[in-house]
């Protein structure tokens, strides 16, 4: 049993208009194995999975299940063949009940027995400790619950292969532990599991093997014990680790006579989002950042600066001149740009092209009745696609078909196009892979050495340390300290956050 080859994919090819998403990729899975599929955003992991489950038709290659070649044309075929899947995006129907979402599309019965279905769903929900009612409409559940419902559906199916594409993105620690327990149970029963995640800890906790993809190509298949983390990251990135080290040194600080000009200055600034009044300034060409625990008021501070929350007190000066910033547009007029934290919700317009998304903010400033010429728009778009190394088929591709990291870059491009003097980035690297993270960090430093002032917020302190020359530390919605120069270390941040009493 232990080396039984359950699934074998050979020479898989898939091309989307303009993107070769998969090139000659091989993948194999044994029974009773948890196999991590790793790669940066856009490496082709989800595409490989969707080819396997019949969502996309492959251009070339073969798929063997239990040694026999199979033709899978639809997710229905995949289910019938014993492949059950939790896709990366939540693929449930919000208008149906929790129970229905678990059971619809399964089995061959033509009639729905509501009582039996609800009972089975209830048992399953209880077993997995999911805080939802079987008869509840799915739309009324939180995203995390929806994700767990999708998982419950998948593991309840009699399956040989279980696929989990980033199932843990909105689960908390306990829920992840529960999932791992279930995965181990299924593994013991001989199910082969394909597991995609960005969290390296999780990979090393549950997986047996790792297959790495990069830019649609297979990098290799490894036993987990043969591949230490550092090497895994290097394999995913396709570069050596020292690329990740000190990037601050590579970029010259901004040296000009006007370097100590205060681009922005706030005195006793206060907004209605519940932060204590704070003082703040940033100089030309400086990169600084707000740090602190989640919920300490980092985002609220920059939102107050940008006028995104209602400002209820304090004075603001831009280049020494007092101005009034009541709403984001006032800030934009004063050369301030802001990349919000929850851009997934309101940052991108999925159906518009990359080009349209890039010129959006500039268009707003210019007024909608004075549109850009097509040539202008393309010139802008192409310039920034190149500058930020955005991976897209063309400027006309709808932004929703880009990977998360690249969507992020498009939004960044939108603000850079405004040539702001002061750029605020709230969690610009969250949820994206290491490679793109480094790209964005480098970009921040590059922009700063060109004279732009940047405020950078990130939950990852090492990222802040690598980019910022001054950190404002927050605790309980109050600014509690400022670090610069030799004080910029992990332990100093910790002790400032903890109030100077930390043992670390």
């Amino acid at each position: 049993m232990d080396e039984y080859r359950l699934l074998e994919m050979r020479g898989i090819e898939k091309t989307f208009p303009g993107v070769r998403a998969l090139q000659n990729v091989d993948f194999s899975l044994n029974a009773g194995e948890i196999h991590a599929l790793m790669g940066e955003n856009g490496a082709g992991k989800s595409t490989l999975i969707k080819v396997l489950t019949g969502v996309y038709s492959k251009d070339a290659g073969t798929i063997r299940l239990d040694g026999k070649e199979v033709k899978i044309h639809s997710p229905q075929d995949a289910q019938n063949a014993g492949i059950s899947t939790v896709y990366q995006e939540i693929t449930l129907c919000p208008n149906l009940s929790v129970a229905e979402n678990m059971f619809i599309g399964r089995g061959n019965g033509k009639i729905t027995n509501w009582k039996e279905m609800n009972d089975r769903a209830k048992t399953l929900l209880e077993r997995l400790d999911i805080p939802a009612k079987a008869t509840q409409q799915l739309a009324n559940c939180s995203i995390a619950v929806q994700q767990m419902v999708a998982i419950a559906r998948a593991i309840d199916m009699e399956c040989k292969v279980l696929i989990l594409d980033e199932p843990t993105s909105s689960l908390d620690e306990q829920e992840v532990e529960k999932l791992f327990g279930l995965m181990r149970d299924l593994k013991a029963m001989g199910v082969g599991i394909i597991f995609v995640t960005h969290f390296l800890d999780q990979v090393y906790e549950v997986c047996d093997k790792i297959t790495v993809l990069r830019d649609g190509q297979l990098v290799g298949e490894y036993e987990i014990r043969d591949l230490p983390r550092v090497q895994l990251v290097a394999k995913m990135l396709g570069k050596e680790m020292d690329d990740l080290s000190d990037i601050k040194g590579e970029h010259e600080a901004y040296h000009s006579p006007d370097a100590d000009m205060k681009i922005f200055e706030a005195e006793k600034l206060q907004s209605n989002a519940g932060i204590k009044p704070f003082n703040f300034h940033i100089q030309k060409g400086e990169v600084n950042g707000f740090t602190g625990l989640l919920g300490s008021g980092r985002s609220e501070c920059v939102r107050a600066i940008f006028g995104a929350d209602r400002v209820i007190g304090g004075k603001v000066k831009v280049k020494g001149k007092e101005v009034k910033i009541h709403k984001p547009k006032d800030a934009m007029k004063n050369g301030i740009a802001y990349l919000p934290e929850d851009r997934k919700v309101d940052g991108i317009i999925g159906d518009l092209s990359v080009r349209e998304n890039i010129i959006l903010a500039l268009q707003v400033m210019k007024g909608f009745f004075k549109p850009f010429t097509k040539a202008q728009a393309y010139a802008f778009a192409d310039e920034y696609i190149k500058k930020l190394n955005i991976k897209t088929a063309s400027a006309d591709t709808p932004i929703k078909s880009l990977s998360g990291g690249n969507q992020q870059k498009v939004i960044l491009a939108r603000w850079l196009l405004m040539h702001p003097e002061y750029l605020i980035l709230d969690e610009p690297t969250r949820g994206i892979d290491v490679g793109t993270k480094v790209d964005i960090q480098k970009l921040v430093l590059e922009l700063a050495s060109g004279g732009m002032s940047i405020t950078f917020i990130s939950s990852e302190t090492d990222e802040m340390l690598r980019t910022c020359s001054r950190l404002i530390v927050m605790r309980d919605r109050k600014v509690v300290g400022e670090l610069s120069g030799d004080d910029l270390t992990q332990s100093m941040i910790m002790s400032t956050i903890a109030g100077g009493e930390s043992d670390e």
Binding site: T53, A78, C93, G105, A132, K133
Partner: protein
């Protein structure tokens, strides 16, 4: 920490579909009861209600078909045309074939025409992925055109077997009333009403209990997700149009049975009334939400309001139009307010 509290109370327990259904029924009851109380007259007699059923049986049937297409996320605006074509074809067959046509065969003709439209339109929508609005718009023009080709002039059907069927009435015991002269009149319904009620029951069961019925909801809720959940989305869309076409055929025949004539102008705008009824009955244009019982009440509300308007002495056609328009807005407003309240209470 491990037991997260379920929020939202009552709203959490009721699905969007059932919530909208309740709203519809409540509004209908309020409307009808206030008509009885304030207008009295005809509204006091049960026969008023039965007349509404008699007149609207065809609309009930076609609106049920429409609801299924709308629940699946589509639309079918060809049904008025199909109803006209069915009436005209059956009329011509019954009266103009030498020796007169057979009533049973005329029914088969009606079903065949409806099915044909459903299959062709469904195929174009589901497998050729053309917008349902465009496909059925073409279907509407085609059906209207064909009606005129079959016969240009309107005429009454004289076929005796058909006449007999048309004049058949089913008496409802104990619901009769006395005329001003003191004559007892039994309450009655036409055959079409029985057909309509049977169809409401059957389609209700189909939507509620069959895999196909649930697939309509899933596909209308989110076609991409439905696909990933292992539902054959194309087939489901196709079948929604086939059922709608079939209903247009049956509804067409019931309409024919009610009016007893063929005319190119028959059932003008019926598709719009069907859409309006579905929406009033709680079906959402965006798909995934709706209920056949709601649609029944939608039709009843629509028709009652027309009767109320004319009883109130505003008999002119434009007043009916204006009230229906107003009522549609009102219903949508109430629906969106309730949905908004639901969202809010769940978020809070």
């Amino acid at each position: 920490m491990d037991k997260k509290k379920l929020k939202g109370g009552i709203f959490n327990r009721i699905s969007d579909t059932n919530l909208l259904l309740c709203i519809t029924i409540v509004i209908f009851l309020i409307m009808y009861i206030s008509a009885i109380v304030f207008l009295g007259g005809g509204f006091k007699k049960p026969q008023m209600f039965f007349n509404i059923l008699n007149n609207e049986a065809p609309l009930i049937i076609t609106a049920c078909g429409m609801s299924i297409v709308m629940i699946s996320g589509g639309i079918d605006i060809s049904i008025g045309g199909v109803v006209a074509l069915v009436s005209m074809s059956c009329a011509v067959y019954l009266d103009k074939t030498p020796g007169g046509g057979n009533v049973w065969v005329s029914m088969l003709i009606a079903l065949a025409i409806g099915l044909l439209f459903g299959i062709v339109q469904g195929y174009l929508v589901a497998y050729c992925e053309i917008q349902p609005f465009i496909v059925t718009l073409a279907g509407m023009f085609f059906a209207r055109g064909m009606t005129t080709i079959v016969n240009t002039d309107p005429f009454n059907v004289e076929n005796s077997a058909f006449r007999k069927l048309k004049d058949t009435r089913i008496t409802i015991p104990k619901m009769g009333s006395y005329t001003k002269k003191g004559l007892y009149q039994a309450a009655h319904i036409e055959i079409g009403v029985v057909v309509a009620i049977a169809i409401v029951v059957v389609l209700f069961l189909v939507l509620r209990y069959t895999k196909l019925g649930r697939s309509f909801y899933a596909v209308g809720g989110n076609p991409q997700s439905a696909l990933m959940l292992g539902i054959n989305v194309k087939r489901t869309k196709f079948l929604s149009h086939v059922i709608c076409g079939l209903m247009a055929g049956i509804g067409g025949y019931v309409y024919f049975l009610h009016v007893g004539s063929g005319a190119p102008s028959h059932a003008t705008g019926m598709e719009m009334n069907a859409i309006a009824s579905s929406i009033i009955g709680g079906t959402m244009l965006t798909g995934g939400v709706g209920n056949i019982i709601g649609t029944l009440f939608g039709v009843l509300s629509l028709s009652s309001i027309q009767n109320i308007v004319s009883s109130a002495g505003l008999g002119q056609a434009w007043w009916t139009g204006i009230t229906i328009g107003g009522m549609l807005c009102l219903f949508l407003l109430i629906q969106s307010i309730v949905m908004w309240a639901k969202k809010r209470s769940l978020k809070a």
